[in-house]
């Protein structure tokens, strides 16, 4: 273990509180084990020492002491016996006993030697050996005595007796005394040693006992301390955490300051975190409860079910509240709560909107609300409120107000007194609805209805409304009396009447139009009805169907007008038209027949004249034939004019493609044989067509042919280069035709008359007088325009504008 870690450990020991719980437990156990082991070692050593001393005591000292006692007794017994032996010859028993003892003395001597062997200590062994020497001296003295004085006669021998007595007196007894003295001294010494040894053992035992008691006490104290510590550092904080959790469970949020850095500290931090989270969540929930939906809140993770649940709860609530508010706004309906105890009201935002008031008064009084009411309204409201509170009932009130922006509004109030067990005074709950628009609409509707009623009364047409499902006539206007002869009541009493009045032969028209009605188209039906009087009348009904939301036809609204007069004039007009059409066709046919019948002999005449001209050699006949031919042509052209005029008046405009170039070429070709046309005359045609041109070919040909032939007819013979130029410019809207010549021209005063029928400028004019009239008529029929610009002696310009029928 390095010194750094050691210091570290020491530092940790000093900062016990910041140590991890595991280290604390290990450390405690370590201290306990160390204490236990050290104590045990001391006890063990002590006990071992005791044991050896005890052994020594029992093996060496005790037998020695016992031997010394035996020896002393033996010595004193032998001393007394030997005295007795000397002094008293008759005592046989003592003699025997002494003999025994004497014989034993060899054993005793051996015993002494053996005892001496027990001691390693040389001084002690020497003492014992010294003792055995003394004992042997005594024993030999005894043997001297005993062997001297054996028989009774020996006793009578004085020398023997004296000798023995001297032995006894001077030898044996001093040895015995010395021995005794030595033995006693040894006994004393040994006893003192034994006592000392015993004392040491006793002291040692006492120490062991003390140590054991100490050990027990240590364990007890340490255990107590440990359990105190465990309680202090482990159980208490755990209980604290548990209490915090218990409180959390009961909804009380308590946070402990975390001082510790161990596992318990971590648990406390975790619990604090949990408390924080719960606190945050409850704060968030509180915000939701207070309708603050903008509070920032983020779920911790995807697994944070509570967080997500709160968020989704908030969004649901938000949605519901906005829906509710929207509903209230749309319905113009708000909620108002009046507390009679405080005279204060609480209400939904829409009420402020209805009153045109910014929501600035957080807890307004009833007076604030009543400011918008008229005095009469206020009175009504207060009476209703008082009655309601008094009788615990409900009320309904229509309250006209003038809002804070001075808008007149009508409110509908429905109130109810609500009492609960814990609120005996109760409160008024009032639903306030802005019914201004509804009232307005009702008034407008009534007005419109009245107007309609008046309108219906004054109009000759019959308005009606028919309900399909119930087959009932919902409405019919008063005019029915005029049209049908039946009164309004007649129709309302008999729903089938409106069908029955329809003439039998015209009912089919309604069936024919049924499909039209069902697809939603309004229809117009003309039919006959039989009036109450039996008279038949023509009427026209316009019917408009109405549908429900799923497209099912539900109602028919109609107007029936008396069209008898119109019908009569229509019929008359139709008849006239038909007649006219017939006579027109007949006339056309007639005109053609006449023209053909007139022209056929004319052409025959012309043919004959031409033949004659070819065959005759006579100059005069030729001249006459020429004149005849001119007359024939004039007549022919006149007949053509009449025919054209007649056709133009009667025939409809036709829409055909016009090829101006071809038409002009045709006309030029046709006119090359006419009088006045000679090789000197130049006819020039120019056509600029920007688009296809549509018009009536025959009419256009008549117009152009007439204009060009006029130019030819009235050419100026005096001019060297007579010409006719026709220019056509056509676009998609119209064609502009200019026919220009350098002919004789027309005087200004004639310009306005040249288009008149049979008007001829001068007697020189060779035409029928119908040409320009027909041109004008034809152009007008075609919706065109014509104008003339002419200077006598210079020439004539005719401008024609014809619309393009392209788009029709």
């Amino acid at each position: 273990m390095s010194s750094a870690t050691l210091t570290d450990l020491l530092r940790k020991l000093l900062h016990f509180k910041i140590m991890s719980l595991r280290i604390k437990i290990w450390l405690s156990i370590l201290v306990l084990v160390l204490l236990f082991t050290s104590n045990s070692v001391v006890i063990y050593l002590e006990m071992d020492d005791n044991k050896s001393k005890n052994e020594e005591l029992s093996e060496k000292i005790v037998p020695t002491v016992n031997f010394l006692y035996d020896l002393r007794r033996n010595v004193s017994e032998r001393t007394s016996l030997i005295s007795d032996w000397v002094n008293n010859p008759g005592n046989q028993i003592a003699k025997e006993k002494l003999i025994d003892l004497h014989s034993e003395s060899k054993n005793t001597f051996l015993e002494i030697g053996r005892t001496a062997d027990n001691y390693v200590d040389p001084s002690w062994r020497d003492s014992i050996i010294n003792l055995s020497h003394l004992f042997m001296n005594m024993s030999s003295s005894e043997y001297q005595i005993m062997s001297t004085l054996v028989l009774p006669e020996d006793y009578k021998d004085q020398r023997k007796k004296n000798h023995s007595l001297a032995y006894l007196e001077f030898e044996l007894l001093p040895v015995s005394n010395l021995l005794n003295h030595k033995i006693n001294s040894y006994i004393r010494y040994t006893e003192a040693w034994r006592n000392a040894q015993g004392k040491t053992i006793r002291e040692s035992s006492d120490l062991i006992t003390e140590l054991t008691v100490m050990l027990i006490l240590e364990v007890l104290i340490l255990g107590f301390v440990l359990s105190f510590l465990v309680e202090r550092i482990l159980i208490k904080p755990i209980i604290e955490v548990k209490n915090t959790l218990d409180k959390l469970k009961n909804g009380i949020i308590i946070k402990k300051h975390v001082k510790r850095k161990d596992e318990i500290g971590a648990i406390q931090s975790a619990v604090n975190g949990l408390a924080d989270r719960v606190d945050e969540m409850s704060a968030f929930a509180l915000q939701i409860g207070q309708r603050n939906f903008d509070h920032t809140f983020e779920p911790l993770s995807n697994h944070d079910k509570l967080g997500h649940a709160l968020l989704s709860m908030r969004s649901d609530l938000k949605k519901n509240i906005s829906r509710l508010e929207e509903t209230q706004r749309i319905a113009g309906t708000g909620y108002l709560e009046y507390n009679p105890a405080t005279n204060r009201i609480t209400c939904s935002d829409i009420i402020w909107e209805i009153l045109d008031l910014e929501k600035e008064i957080s807890e307004p009084t009833l007076t604030d609300f009543l400011k918008v009411c008229s005095s009469e309204g206020t009175l009504n409201f207060q009476i209703q409120l008082r009655n309601c509170l008094k009788h615990n009932s409900k009320f309904e009130l229509t309250l006209p107000i003038k809002s804070y922006k001075s808008k007149e509004k009508i409110l509908s109030l429905s109130g109810r007194h609500i009492i609960t067990a814990d609120d005996m005074v109760g409160k008024m709950v009032i639903v306030v609805q802005d019914i201004t628009e509804r009232k307005q609409a009702e008034n407008e509707l009534k007005e419109a209805h009245d107007q309609m009623e008046a309108f219906f009364k004054n109009i000759n047409d019959v308005f009606f409304s028919y309900d399909i499902a119930s087959k009932k006539l919902l409405q019919i206007s008063e005019a029915c009396k005029e049209v049908y002869g039946y009164s309004k009541e007649d129709f309302q009493n008999n729903f089938k009447l409106i069908e029955d009045v329809v003439a039998e032969e015209d009912k089919v028209h309604f069936l024919e139009k049924k499909m039209e009605l069902h697809i939603g188209n309004p229809v117009i039906i003309e039919y006959r009805i039989r009036q109450k009087s039996g008279a038949v009348k023509w009427v026209e009904t316009k019917i408009t169907p109405s549908f429900d939301s799923i497209g099912k036809i539900i109602r028919l609204d109609g107007i029936t007008s008396d069209i008898s007069e119109r019908k009569e004039s229509e019929e008359a007009l139709n008849k006239t038209n038909n007649d006219l059409r017939k006579s027109n066709a007949e006339l056309d046919k007639f005109v053609y027949s006449v023209s053909h019948d007139l022209r056929a002999p004319l052409t025959s005449m012309q043919g004959i004249v031409e033949l004659t001209e070819m065959q005759t050699a006579e100059e005069l006949t030729g001249k006459h034939m020429n004149m005849l031919q001119k007359s024939i042509r004039k007549l022919d052209s006149f007949i053509s004019d009449i025919l054209n005029y007649s056709r133009n008046a009667r025939l409809d405009i036709r829409r055909e493609t016009v090829d101006f170039k071809e038409m002009l070429a045709d006309i030029s070709r046709e006119l090359q044989y006419m009088d006045g046309h000679d090789s000197a005359l130049v006819i020039d045609n120019t056509v600029h067509a920007k688009s296809d041109f549509y018009s009536d070919n025959n009419r256009l040909r008549i117009v152009l042919s007439n204009l060009i032939s006029n130019s030819i007819r009235y050419k100026d013979s005096g001019k060297e280069n007579p010409f006719v130029t026709v220019s056509v410019t056509a676009n998609e809207r119209f064609a502009e035709i200019v026919v220009e010549d350098n002919g004789i021209g027309i005087k200004k005063e004639h310009h306005e008359n040249v288009f008149n029928m049979f008007y001829r400028v001068s007697e020189k004019s060779s035409g029928s007088g119908l040409g320009l009239y027909i041109v004008k008529e034809t152009i007008e029929k075609m919706n065109g325009e014509i104008s003339i610009d002419s200077v006598p002696g210079v020439g004539t310009k005719v401008y024609v504008n014809i619309p393009n029928l392209y788009l029709q």
Binding site: R599, G607, L611
Partner: protein, 141 residues
């Protein structure tokens, strides 16, 4: 006159007109032979009899429109049913005094009509017929 036809028909109810036509035709050597019919039906009958003999058929039929009993258009309707060889061989020229546009339109619509000529007939008009017929036959060839 560049070309002289072998045979032509003149179908017209008016004697004077037929006279004029035949006179002009012969004068300008338009055709060697001109058969006259005062009724359209008669012309049809003739054609019916000779339809299997192409050599005998006329090259040109000068047809009037306004005729009693059967008019020019009725003749054309009947002629329509003749075999193609016959219709190819005989070109129909309308020669009429009618200036009714309806008539000229109707004639233009009918495929059998080769030309529509107003009376009276003259040299110019004969030339035009010649051009048309030869042009048509040239085209057909």
């Amino acid at each position: 006159m560049t070309h002289t036809f072998k045979k032509i028909f003149v179908v017209d109810d008016n004697d004077i007109d037929r006279y004029i036509i035949t006179s002009i035709v012969s004068r300008f050597n338009f055709s060697k032979e001109a058969l006259e019919f005062n009724m359209a039906q008669k012309a049809l009958d003739w054609l019916e009899e000779n339809k299997s003999n192409p050599a005998a058929l006329p090259e040109i039929i000068l047809l009037d429109i306004n005729m009693p009993e059967m008019n020019g258009f009725e003749f054309l309707d009947a002629f329509e049913h003749f075999p193609d060889e016959v219709k190819k061989q005989s070109s129909v020229i309308i020669l009429t005094s009618s200036n009714n546009p309806d008539d000229s339109e109707r004639a233009a619509k009918c495929g059998l009509v080769c030309a529509y000529i107003h009376k009276p007939l003259n040299e110019e008009k004969l030339k035009k017929i010649n051009e048309r017929v030869n042009g048509a036959s040239a085209e057909a060839a």
